[in-house]
Amino acid sequence: MSLELRNVGWNAGFKKIISDVSLHVTRGEFLGVIGPNGSGKTSMMSVLGGIRAPSTGQALLGDQPMKKIGRRNLARHIGFVEQQADTIDRITVRDAVALGRTPYLSLLTPWSGHDDAIVCEALASVEMGPFADRMWHTLSGGEKQRVHIARALAQQPDFLLLDEPTNHLDIHHQLGLLELVRALPVTVVAALHDLNHAAMFCDRIAMMNGGKLIALGTPEQILTSQNLHDVFGVAADIEIDDQGRCHIRYHAGNQKSSAIKKTGLRNPVF
């Protein structure tokens, strides 16, 4: 099962939001999507998740256009966690996760003990088991985010798509959440704001700017001083540690660092 975008464009009304994005998600990887605000990350993620149909080009799951697969089938393969999704309904954590079983249920296949087991398993894998009977509105931001991920996992997806999952979380919960996601046995595509997080957790990084996918490669290839300057307009040094991991050190002010280390490719190959 593969997940792929081919020359995808998406318009909101007459406005082009993303154009000409081609991306192949490799099975088992943690793919990070980075880019400045308004670069089209969220739109790209929702086309990749099958929530929006591309205006041009093709979105494919397992070499089939998503349009042909149908929403219900798609939801059995792709779990999607939006940026912020809250509710005023008084529901329990278990009920929220149970929604993940929606694509499997119908009048002929009603809720069963099997579904209960999957919901428990999903809760356990995000370490929220003891919270199962808590009310949703009593949870903290980090806990809510974990429950959302559990809901997506209850869909038993091959691909888990997360749109800025660590927004509004403190640093402890940000790292905890990303570690947890990384340990999950699914392919993950996550839009991330924090470039150091992208460097720490991602196998590959896709960098977007102005609605285009401008670079795709390993963190060392993408996170270069030059790229950060060109795309984000920040001055930064990139340090590479013993394990080959990048660390980004930003400089105050909007000037190019004097000590650009030419460790990376400017526009790495796709």
Partner: protein, 358 residues
Amino acid sequence: MFETTPVQQPVQPPRQSLAGRAYLARAGVSLGALVLLVGVIAMAAAKGETHIPLGTVFQTIANHLWQAGYDVDPIDAGIIWNYRISRAMVAAACGASLALSGAVLQALLRNSLADPYLLGISAGASTGAVSVAILGFGAGMVSLSLGAFVGALVAFGFVALLAIPAGRGAGAIILAGVAGSQLFNALTSFIVTKAATADEARGVMFWLLGNLSGVRWPDVYLALPVAVIGLLVCLWYSRALDAFTFGVESAASLGVPVRRVYVVLIAIAASMTAVMVSIVGSIGFVGLVIPHAARFFVGTRHGFLLPASALIGAVFLVAADIVSRIILDGQVLPIGVITALIGAPAFAIILCHGRVLR
């Protein structure tokens, strides 16, 4: 598919299967409401200007349904069967439909203040009704009800046309509904002010607040199937409505065909409301508040919430009708006045009680 992950910490299994959890309690509430509905309809048949014993009511019903052959005073039997039972049945269908429409719209639009009249239906119905009653549209060939029904559909069409270019989202629908309602309410006021005599204005006002007095069996044959079909269609989509808990995008990611669900359910809610409003006028409060009351009893899952809303709405409106007939000697109050007068304090009690239960 993701495989079984190692369990990091023990997860309590649900106390019962999720489907079975509190199932009995909720089914009990629904069954209780059903019994209550039959009881309250029987009460509606017994109470009124002439009081008729409940025994006679059941004998009359048995005579009509199973030719039981009880000896019942024909005048009593006539009052019970031709006037009171038909009226109570329409009240029940109407209460159920309005509450159901309210529950569906609140779920779809993610707004606790959504109610069936949000879509401009009651405003359009009143414009249609005054066009017939005061302006004389249709030259006597068109009934008030038909005028109201056409008005309701025109207003709903207007709101829908306004909402589509505005972006189709929940916010767009709500704003278009507000705009449409204001427009058609203004039209109604314009017509009443310009053309109506004082008597006509009073009559229209009475109708607008809800009036069950002209209701007979043919109205039942229209209202009851509409309510039952509406309930079945909404129940068919109950899981999809659950999936809207975290909004439209989340519903889409759970595999719900969002656009189709929107179109079908809003059309169903609009048709149910238009039919009911055209028969009995625009009765307020039921569609807004009954779904909230039902949530306190059975929770937010629509498989339970929808039938519970329908049953509670039905019981509530039949009871309100009884009160409207007996509260003032020799005078019937518009039922819309009663629904709000009784409903608002009753709802306040539920709200406060619910808070304590949390």
